[in-house]
């Protein structure tokens, strides 16, 4: 179940030609990892550790999305598109 969610998130990252969609894929993958943390914390001696880990993953994901969207807006203003295939200025 969690493995399927992780795989779908990976596919979204690889497939989409849009930076925002790639951010969504990252969110899906983080969610899959969180499921595992919480599910296995149920069978731990002290179930708080896994849940606290999941909470911190959520916080880091929130800050990551905020910074990512700010950078995407800047890129959009500068290059007029957010397609990672067309952002090839550093290639030559």
């Amino acid at each position: 179940m969690s493995a399927m969610l992780f795989a779908i998130g990976f596919a979204v990252i690889v497939t989409k030609k849009n930076l925002i969609m790639m951010l969504m894929g990252i969110e899906l993958m983080l969610n899959a990892v969180n499921i595992n943390f919480v599910a296995f914390s149920k069978f731990d001696k002290n179930p708080e550790q896994g849940q606290i880990f999941a909470l911190f993953i959520m916080l880091v994901a929130a800050s990551e999305v905020a910074v990512g969207l700010a950078i995407i807006l800047k890129i959009k203003k500068y290059y007029e598109n957010i397609n990672p295939e067309k952002l090839t200025e550093l290639k030559n």
Binding site: I8, V14, T15, M21, M24, M58, V65, V67, L73, K74
Partner: protein
């Protein structure tokens, strides 16, 4: 997987429904043609994951999932979609193009099968412990053992948000 099977054997239909909701939302994100609709699919998936958290004994984590992901991250994403959509493209401005679909689908299916195989073949020690007062213990643990991590994450979040607003502000 073992947990999933056990819950399903106990006749827990709601758990299966939540699993299905999460996976269907994620698949919709993968196959939808519109960025905005994809974000709605992401919302459905997050709700399903929140339901799974409840079954895994993390009530507080489930509430935090709904508040942080659906209330924070998804709103940010939708704002980003609206602000970054290309006005010149006209009607199809929210459409998304895909690339190397076959390659990514192959990788996805193989990765999914590999992980499922690993999970099914490995034995986990999943004997149940007696139920505890989860949220109370969570609060105690958060304020005693992991208080340093808590503070560091708070500072990180503050820095990230200030940095994001600074990056996104209009140049003079």
């Amino acid at each position: 997987m073992e947990i999933v099977l056990r819950e399903l054997q106990n006749g827990n239909v709601a758990f299966g429904i939540f699993c299905l909701i999460a996976v269907i939302g994620a698949v919709y994100v993968l196959f939808s043609k519109n960025v905005l609709y994809a974000s709605y699919g992401l919302l459905v998936s997050f709700l399903g994951v929140a339901g799974i958290f409840v079954f895994a004994g993390g009530e507080f984590v489930s509430a935090a999932q709904i508040m942080i992901y659906i209330g924070g991250i998804l709103i940010l994403l939708i704002f980003g979609i609206m602000l970054s959509s290309n006005k010149k493209a006209g009607k199809g401005k929210l459409n998304i193009e895909n690339m190397n679909k076959v390659f990514s689908l192959t990788i996805t299916v193989s990765l999914s099968l590999l992980l499922s195989l690993l999970v099914l073949t490995s034995k986990f020690n999943t004997k149940s412990f007696k139920p505890q007062q989860h949220i109370k213990n969570l609060g105690y643990n958060l304020m005693t053992d992991s208080v340093l991590v808590l503070e560091i994450t708070g500072v990180l979040l503050l820095m990230a948000l200030i940095g994001a607003t600074y990056i996104a502000k209009k140049d003079e």
